[in-house]
């Protein structure tokens, strides 16, 4: 078995500000890696570098693709990278509006990845989209409604469906439950948990919420000031934090 993602010496600066420095790790198939840290820790920058949305200043991201074999994400042509983003990868944005077409129906949103790779049977596309709506617990009679008529939680679930319809192998998530009500959050986390398990997804999840990390991730990387200060098994990092910053983070969780 090979790692699905190999990252070495990943560094990205914006002018003089170093957003992330020397990040290195391997992600194995079926693993969910959490990246936690506070605002400004560099976690979103890191995620965007991994997903090919930003070009790092140094380092490499190697991905074991099904379409092209092992590739260097940033050495790939834009055409191929865009193709991977629509097929083997998913990206769940914090704000669902950034990951949806708000002006077309839910069915069209979910069906897009299928149509992008040549699906040409309206009835079948619609049927698949309808199934996915069911899987993300949205009523199927909302299939023709636009996401503008959806609640925030529904939009996020729709975004998830839109990403997963192409059976991606690797999903990037940027605070997928940020800004949602707690009960809505719980529902989406539950959904993500079961989907990741049943579909054997690998995922990189950025969050500042340690509870989300505990629930969804197998491994955790703690970032501070652009560096990874601690990493390991999620329950170990949270229950037996070694680094001062991690200890501070864990101690700062408000008890319920």
């Amino acid at each position: 078995m090979k790692p699905i993602l190999s990252v070495r010496g990943l560094t990205k600066s914006f002018g003089r500000r170093v957003a992330c420095r020397d990040v290195a790790f391997e992600l194995w198939p079926g693993e969910v890696l959490g990246i936690v840290g506070e605002s400004g820790s560099g976690k979103t920058t890191l995620l965007n570098c991994l997903a090919g949305r930003l070009t790092p200043d140094a380092g490499s991201v190697d991905y074991d693709s099904a379409a092209y074999g092992p590739i260097d994400v940033h050495g790939l042509s834009e055409a191929r990278r865009r193709f991977l983003s629509r097929t083997e990868w998913g990206f769940v944005n914090q704000d669902a509006r950034d990951g949806l077409r708000m002006g077309v129906s839910a069915g069209a949103n979910i069906g897009e990845r299928l149509m992008a790779v040549g699906a040409r049977h309206y009835g079948e596309i619609r049927h698949t989209a309808s199934e996915w709506l069911g899987r993300v617990e949205i009523e199927q009679d909302r299939l023709d409604d636009r996401p503008t008529t959806y609640s925030g939680g529904m939009r996020q679930r729709l975004q998830i469906a839109r990403n997963l319809v192409s059976n991606p192998r690797l999903v990037f998530m940027d605070e997928p439950t940020g800004g949602l009500d707690v009960s809505v959050q719980a529902r989406i986390l539950d959904l993500l948990r079961s989907l990741v398990q049943t579909l054997h997804l690998s995922a990189v999840l950025v969050t500042h919420d340690l509870g989300v990390a505990r629930l969804l991730t197998h491994r955790l990387m703690v970032m501070q000031g652009g560096r990874v200060v601690e990493d390991g098994l999620t329950d170990q990092v949270l229950d037996d934090p070694q680094h001062a910053y991690t200890q501070m983070l864990v101690a700062s969780i408000l008890p319920v």
Partner: protein
Amino acid sequence: MPDSNSQAGAYNYAYLDEQTKRMIRRAILKAVAVPGYQVPFGGREMPLPYGWGTGGIQVTAAIIGRDDTLKVIDQGADDTTNAVSIRHFFAKVADVATTTSTEQATIIQTRHRVPETPLREGQIIVFQVPIPEPLRMLEPRETETRTLHALAEYGVMQVSLYESIARHGRIAKTYNYPVMVNGRYIMSPSPIPKFDNPKLDRSPALQLYGAGREKRIYAVPPYTPVKSLDFDDHPFEVERWDECCALCGSRESFLDEVIVDDAGQRMFVCSDTDWCERRR
């Protein structure tokens, strides 16, 4: 070369200067070499505003010669104000014979219709195009649409057709219906009715498209496959009428609906005036 004997007097032949004609011809050659690809060109100021056919006129001006016979139609008719104006313009500046007969024309400049009479090899049809970018309504950014064309990422177009079916039960687009040219580029065939789309497929004539405001030229060389986009279970269909043409009885042509009195009486007549006249 300036011809002081021409009626145009101070104008260069066919109005445009030679360098401009050369630039446009180069754009046309490029367009013909890559069917359906929108070639930017340095559009000039023409003696009529944008939206009145300046793109088509520049294309015609670049290719027309004294041996040509020019036909100009607007919504199928030779006798509308704009068609007449443009025809007279070229008669004056290009010293060229003009006609209303599709068969006799060597160059046909058209707004929003393809003639009913099948075109033949050696003819050139020049389309006036308002918005050359078929994805414009779906993706407003020019940088993004250029990338989509370059990478042949046309999912968004299929999405819009899906959406049309979801909303209306069928693909509701009836004019400017998007087509796939030579299996590679999606193209806007200009606002012709979808009824005319099949005429573009493997036509023996050369199709040139000019958009003056947007400054783009594109082309479909003769015998090139042009396929209207659809779904397997919602195939492309042309319009049909229950009526026939009230003047010539045609059941095969595109019919305009004309209100004839204040009581709302209507009749259907061929939009292609030349076709209609020939049949009577």
